[in-house]
Amino acid sequence: MADDTGKFGVGALHLGNPNRRQIFQLGAGAAAGWTLSGNAFAQTERPTNPPDKPRGQVIAALSQEPTVFHPLMPGIEVDQGIWWQVFSPLWFIDPDGQFVPDLAREVPTLENGGLSADGLTWKIKLRSDVKWHDGTPFTADDVKFSLELINNPDFRARSRVGHSLVKDIKVVAPDEIHWRMEAPYSPYMSILGSLTFIVPKHILEKVTDPNASPFHNAPVGTGPFRWGERVPGDHIQLNAHAGYHGKGPYVERVVFKYIPDLTVLYTQFRTGQVDYTGLQGILPNFVQEAKTLKGRKIFVSSTSSVEHIAPNLEFGALADRTVREALYLAINKQAIIDALNYGLPTQTESFVPQQAWSFQQGLPQHKYDPAKANTLLDAAGWVRGAGGVREKGGVKLEFTNSTTSGNAVREQTQQLLIQDWRAIGAAMRVNNMPAAVIWGDFWQQSKFNSVIVGVNFMLGSDPDVTPRFGSGAIPAKGGRGYNTYQYRNPEADRLLAEGAKQFDLAQRKTTYGNLQKLIRDDLAILPLFQGFIAEGVKEGLQGFRPNINMSINCWNIREWYWA
């Protein structure tokens, strides 16, 4: 099954030919006793055979409570932990970035005829041996129903990006479905593979309100685990689905424990009450100590999220590219990584994670050079005024920086930035807010000066960032996306339009490589580092595979078992 990879299967690009940086990372990770990616992790495990039938249970701790169980409705990362166990997509993206068929028999490609040459016709062949948890056979009607439900105006769908282009869905046979796309859109492959789960027609077609039904709190899927029980505010129990069509499951039960405080979560992991620390993992300040715990393994893996300073490109001095370059030069990034993040994350210059096939090598590397920053500003006419703050043409080089209040590491980062930037005549003030406030209109409508934020720019494993950097995606200007930076560049728009209709991987790599160069050159964002998560598992628990293409690393509990 895993060999049946389509044209979009791209793992070989970075696994078969690892670059020097990746080789260095793997070596450094092994030497340090932890890993930087799921692939490296696999090498540290001594595999044993999974049991013949499900045995034991896994207690997985999460710091946020999963509450949305309809996988097509608005939910957060932690909800995906449940979706991946209860439901199945047509195909999923493995840690190597390859599309692996799940409900589909094969991933549609140009070669196997699943995709037409113009990218407009999609033909999907489905497995015929899949059953819903209640025993009803899964068919192409379920796929049609799911896609139509997403576009149902009365349904509170999470997102219609890509789905809204799907027209003329035809069920050709119980195990085959065809549709036409209104326009070629290659990222749809990733959207279907990582964000779209298929729901049962035979249950949901009978409900009167698609937004509220018993299904919402007792979902029925085709995934490896059946819904068990939910004790609100405490835990959710899922039971092994004996008739699962894929590999596993190898444990009888999985229990998701909700533990909101990260210190308490770590304590319970330490005392053995939980087997796995999922989202948001172990706090960086506990990682060193955690690695000394007996009977526990700690894994630090990269995530797709890129921690960066988001400038509002239409605000005051930040609109000037020279200013952004000077600010970037004056950041002591390594101090932020080493002193505040315990050396766990890695520097980056791109919005694309370094493990992705689309990552562009050789982007200009950041250098901490306050002297050069001062020279740049002097040459551009930014002169020091009262209090040492520079100004030019009546515009002062001063701005606020905001982030989620209570996030200690980011608040400390702000203190370092104030010092770094004061040295070049830039004045930064802190304006932090609670999460429910900052990520509302303040962020969405570009009311900020600058923000420290971690963003996963990828659509699954796809680097299409039209909603993030397209000039038509600025919400403050009525756009349809989340380009809150207010970035506008006709060349970027051209590349984005080109990449979204390309189906050849090599071509796409070039297109998105050029886009990364452009964004880096424009300094549309000031990248700090690639995100990371430290997770702990009890010794003896096999099968844990961090997956940078998923929002949550417990995506494959079906493959977990006790040695």
Binding site: P74, I76, R156, V161, P260, V264, V437, Q444, V455
Partner: protein
Amino acid sequence: MARYVANRLAQAIMLLVIVSAIGFAILHLAPGGPLSQFAASAQMTQEDLDRVTRQLGLDRSLPIQYLDWFGRMLRGDWGRSYRDGEPVLAVISSHLGATLELMATATIIAVLLGCWIGVLGALRRYSLFDSLATVGAMIALSIPTFWFGLVTIYVFSVKLGWLPAGNRQTVGDGSPLDLLHHLIAPALVLALVETAMWGRFMRSSMLEVINQDYIRTARAKGMPEWRILTVHALRNALLPMITVGGLQFPTLLGGALVAETVFTWPGMGRLFLDSIGYRDYPVVMGILMFSAVMVLIGSLLADILYAVVDPRIRVG
């Protein structure tokens, strides 16, 4: 008496309307909204957020939203949680049992222990016991519950391994013994502050009573000391404690909120915190109204009980 109760009920209803209006306004006027949590998601665009906002009716004016909510609440429909789509009353009731269990246990401990310390402190005024009790109460009232909870976990769970580090029960167990085992630490932490308060109030009340003329008269008549204490002094000293008990609910709920967070106790306090964080308006309003009703009932019961015991109150 009936008129007195009717008056108090009318006041309580007015208060509820005011509390609901102020609560609703503050909650909705606070920046941010229930969809902010999705803003950082790679899945939802601004267009999606706007669509969901319309579907939830959040684009309507605030007075219209309030009147709609209030009208439905009067009909017994408290709305549905924005997070999990469950009816608000079902969400609250699913967390209520855990909180009541914690609060009731802590209250029993606090009342018994606090009253005992208070009475003994009053009877042995300025003794070593009284001084220790006073200092102990000051410390208990000064220690942040959150910190005390973490220390309890560190000592009794991490170091000694005697008590679980949290949760209401072991997954798959749930026997009475298991429940009790999990209850000990959070109940004691929550009871700490309560005990100190009950102890201080009881000491003052008892001191006032034992200096009354009728106690001196009873002693002069040669009544046994234990009888003077239990029948005359204690009964009268407990009277003001009715009011204390009635007004303890908000403090107890506040303490439970912290204890539930530290001990991962699936109760209302944590639900309230979570719901505020997610701006889950229907649930926050539901808990607010529920708490207000409970406080008013507690206060009303205390007043009525007091009026029953002391008829002079009814006149005022």
